[in-house]
């Protein structure tokens, strides 16, 4: 359980952050207008990621999936931000 739990805590943190970032920046209007709702929604998302991580069959799988998803999401977000497609 501890391997899966740690997957939820670490890569899960980045995954939750990525989701907040993508939604906040992709919504119409400036990202600044959703700062507080984003910070608030982060906690249930992170808790959700931790609980979801515990449903994987092994710690390795949980770490793998969550890390890949978080990295892909963060990469997409940074790409969109640096290219100036979203603001």
């Amino acid at each position: 359980m501890w391997a899966r739990l740690s997957a939820g805590v670490l890569p899960g943190f980045f995954l939750a952050a990525t989701l907040i970032g993508l939604v906040s920046w992709l919504l119409p209007g400036p990202w600044e207008s959703t700062v507080v709702p984003g910070l608030l929604a982060f906690f249930p998302l992170w808790i959700g990621a931790i609980c979801a991580a515990c449903r994987f069959t092994s710690g390795k799988q949980a770490w793998g999936w969550l890390s890949v998803l978080a990295l892909l999401g963060l990469g997409l977000l940074w790409l969109l931000q640096t290219s100036g497609w979203i603001r």
Binding site: M1, V35, L40, F42, G48, C51
Partner: protein
Amino acid sequence: MKLKPATLRTFTTLHSWMGLIAGFALFVAFYAGAITVFHQPLQQWATPHAAATATLDDAQHLLDSVLAQHPEAREHVGMTFPGYELAEPTAYWQDSHRTWLFATPDNLAGSPTPPGASLPELINELHYTLGIPIAGTWLMGLVSLLYGIALVSGFVIHLPRLLKDLFALRPGRNLKRFWQDAHNVIGVLSLPFHIVFAVTGALLCLLFVLMMALNPLIYDGKLMAASAAAMDTAPIVQKADIAKPLSPLASWHARSIEVAHGKGIANFVPGYLKLAHAGDAHAVVEITGTSPRGLGGGAVAFDATSGAVLATQLPGARDANHATLAAVYALHFGDYGNVAVPWLYFLLGLGGAFLFYSGNLLWIESRRKRRQAEQGRSSLIMARATVGICIGVCVAISAAFVAAQLLPWLDWNASTGERWACFGSWALCALWASWRAPLRAAQELLGLAAIVTALVPLAHGLATGWWFWRSAAAGQGGLFAIDVGALALAIGFASLARAATRRGRAGEANSVWAVEPR
């Protein structure tokens, strides 16, 4: 709903671990938090009840003196209006060392100690830091997260039987089932309340840490610059470097009500103000107030020399950031709606405390060795800790209440004395429980809690002459509620002590709760 046995097993383990780590802190947070709901009447209860009423003229005098005496306050100063938290207005600002100073009409020089009684702040500190300085807030933020995980996992474990067992409360020989039913029904029925607290508690404790972490990650390093506009109402204005006198405070007060009225808020009550660049032509004042019909108050910002409106964030006309922030505060502190809301929060808070207490009992019960007198070491430690910490904090809080009344009466310093009474009695209770048989300790500490809590209205009456019947006759609902509430809690503790005695006589012998456990 069907769940895979493996999932069920994982979530049961997760739930017990989260409860084990966070349960004690959550008990303290909920018991102290339930009392903190009444921080305003508590402030009145713990200060000598002088019928002092301050006016806007007193507030004007305070503001003028503070601005004249303290140049730092001219940059930024905050001030509460008379009747908000305290009868007297309070001005506060940061000096050149960034220390907050507080001034009142009686103390224009300012001091680092906030005015008013220290008891409400002590209970509040227990609620959000357990009394641990600095790191306590972060610790409680983490506890809120663990609590969120415990809520999800607890809900999932219970899901297959959720509807069928919702109103089942089965007393009888199987005590574990009875406690399990009680734990489940309170958990499920107050789930919305608990979700609110897990999320808002985490945000209030960890907001700054989270902002630091997310800023480079997803906000491109621009979050700190954007946060002022997202959380304050007044825009940041550069100084004009042209001197111009402020318009009178009373005109700001009237102006904020007028502006709110124009935005459809019929009864806006100004609570406190923030003033920037006093004496400059670009002085800005932001007035935050409450509106009884809205979730959370609102704020109006205008030019402090001309009264021209700069920005408003009022219920029904707020942006997403301010609406969320106002909702977080209102939902966490229960300051919306009518008088029923604080009472509901109080009862749900006590219910929450029961949830964590019963969780610990269930942890012990599910590890009980039924066929032998000798029980596991961990069960014994858990039983002792549960009694010492949970019942101990009930004794400690009541002891602080008694000290808050008796110490000033004896001409001693209440602020330090309360802390000693609180943390000293808590430590002694924990020590007592670590040494006695758990059942004996429970009996004795519950009895002690009943006595000390019953002393609360007695100390109040003796020290101030405000016995609860006098408060009732004078229409002082808050004072009356605290004294009578303490009596009701004392009766509650006494009946729990009796139940513990009964358990010792008639209960299962193969248990840590036997009179002589092994």
